[in-house]
């Protein structure tokens, strides 16, 4: 049984390390902030998630904490990516080589009432 758990833990550690490296490579190679978010915001998160899975399998004492960390990461990771993308768009950072931009028609208008400065 220990051998099986060890193999699962090793697989999870290798996957986690691979995802983390891919996230880092993505930051270097992707052309703009929006595409970089795909690499860091999610692929990087999965790197940590796999490392935590390895901790769950190999360290029984920390199972509860690791499970909760995975849950919080999966809840907070997308929120962070969305907040950064939204902030980048609102501050006017352009897209690199977009094929199409359905959001373009909103660029000249305030996105909602809260953006309209009061007199």
């Amino acid at each position: 049984m220990d051998a099986i758990l060890q193999i699962i833990a090793i697989f999870a550690v290798i996957s986690g390390a691979a995802f983390s490296i891919l996230g880092l490579l993505g930051v270097i190679r992707m052309p703009d902030v929006y595409t970089r978010l795909h690499a860091t915001g999610k692929v990087g998160v999965f790197g940590v998630v796999f490392l935590l899975i390895a901790a769950i399998v190999w360290l029984p004492a920390g199972r509860g904490k690791a499970l909760m960390l995975i849950l919080f990461l999966l809840l907070a990771g997308p929120v962070t990516a969305h907040a950064l993308a939204s902030a980048a768009y609102r501050t006017g950072i352009p897209f690199a080589r977009p094929i199409r931009d359905d959001l373009e028609h909103l660029a000249s208008a305030p996105l909602n009432d809260a953006d309209t400065p009061s007199a």
């Binding site: 929006y34 795909h38 999965f46 509860g64 990771g77 969305h82």
Partner: protein, 162 residues
């Protein structure tokens, strides 16, 4: 709904502290009660006969999200490692189709969780402006996936009081 929230918060506390002594159980329960009193969750009715359907829909939703995340992760990994970086980024408008704001928010969360897609803005009537790394599918494919998400979320989420 409040009982479920108290129970959930209590479980989270116990998982984080990893201590099942009686005093810790009581402290956890008090913290869960205090947080629920502070947060005041909406009193959505949770009928017992709906729970099996909700659980089944939740399982299907989990499998669908897991599949999207896995395939998206592989796709982003392939783009990152390809020397030509063959991405075709675009911002596409995907209607959430959900009446409840919570369903729209959870749809946007799920889309953003999948590698290869980030919801940048949610516009009027739940329109989700989504940045995708590779727009190779027709729009109808994105809309169909969103309809599946919406249908499952409608079954998972408790109905708001009428």
């Amino acid at each position: 709904m409040q009982l479920w929230m108290i129970f959930g918060l209590w479980l989270v506390y116990l998982a984080l502290t990893s201590n099942l002594e009686f005093s810790n159980l009581v402290v956890g329960l008090l913290i869960a009660l205090g947080l629920t009193a502070l947060l005041r969750p909406s009193p959505y009715p949770l009928r017992l006969q709906r729970i099996p359907g909700m659980a089944w829909a939740l399982l299907r939703y989990g499998i669908m999200v897991g599949k999207d995340v896995f395939l998206g992760g592989l796709q982003v990994a392939r783009f990152t490692l390809d020397p030509k970086l063959p991405i075709h980024p675009a911002v596409i408008a995907i209607p959430s189709g959900a009446e409840a704001e919570l369903a729209t928010a959870l749809s946007a969360h799920t889309i953003t969780l999948s590698p290869g897609a980030v919801v940048i803005e949610i516009g009027e009537q739940g329109m989700m402006y989504t940045h995708t790394l590779d727009v190779t599918m027709p729009d109808e494919a994105y809309f169909k996936m969103q309809r599946q998400r919406r249908d499952l979320l409608t079954r998972i989420l408790p109905s708001p009081p009428t």
